[in-house]
Symmetry: C2
Subunit: 162 residues, 2 copies
Amino acid sequence: MTESSTERDPESVSRFVEHFAAQLVEAGMPRMPSRVFGALLASDTGTLTSAELGEQLRISPAAVSGAVRYLAQVHMVSREREPGSRRERYRVHSDQWYEALTNREAIIKRWEDALRDGVASLGADTPAGRRLAETLAFFEFIERDVAEMMERWRAYREERFG
Amino acid sequence: MTESSTERDPESVSRFVEHFAAQLVEAGMPRMPSRVFGALLASDTGTLTSAELGEQLRISPAAVSGAVRYLAQVHMVSREREPGSRRERYRVHSDQWYEALTNREAIIKRWEDALRDGVASLGADTPAGRRLAETLAFFEFIERDVAEMMERWRAYREERFG
DNA sequence: CCTTAACTTCACAAATTTCTGAAAGAAGCG
DNA sequence: CGCTTCTTTCAGAAATTTGTGAAGTTAAGG
């Protein structure tokens, strides 16, 4: 054992952050947002200031700003003004963010719109039209069902984590 | 009315293809695979040859090749050898592909691995460790539940589309 | 108000990704 | 078994994306 049980070896933290971020990148998220998000997730309080992020990740204030804008836009972090200071703090709400993950809602809606257009313009009575219609039905189904799944998750979480 | 009810105005088809592909791109899929996939989805038989794809989308054989390799890798299309010909045909199985969509399984598994490492190295008894553990629990939950959701979809589909 | 700390925006440089043409590689068909 | 047709691979050009420094904006604190 090296130190107290709540040590935070910066090296270990960094290793996790970079590794986890790499997975997010692989899934399609831009690099800086992924790293910033990883750092927040691995922080003790779940909040970090812009300066802390910049220092920990070795990136410029501009990069932090851009990453945070992205993350806020997809609701994976929220910004808080520290009262009586010009410091901004960024927070990952434990639950907020995976709600966001399943909230591809906006994207799905647009897929649905595109598919509806397609069915209309290709003709509902054509083979292609039918294929599009079935795909559309799938998304509509998913949309309804994911909501229920999140309900189940919240119940499960309540029970297991309180 | 311009022609028969099963007309396939290339202009309309193209408009759909490009519009739908744009949505896929927005969701993180590379451009060419998105366009190729759109074209297949909007085709009458659900299959197209490399040459047809190249002509319809105005792209080089090389681009078709690359796009198809990508799509096959993520199981969104399958390749078929047309017997007695050196033509390859690419097919989108109506159901195969959205199964693939929910099959982020490999990706989720790796997230889980990264999170497990994180819990171990940050300590399960630290605030950050607990946050990671809960996130991990979420993914494990999702994984189980999505499988059930697909079951429900298949049942629903059966009933509605036969 | 003026100063100063903190964040954001902008223009550009760097790195990466994407697509093409050309050449090489399979596979039917005579 | 060689010819021909189709597909893949490869190297490089073009386009896009990403991150930085520097200037600009906002708001706290004297």
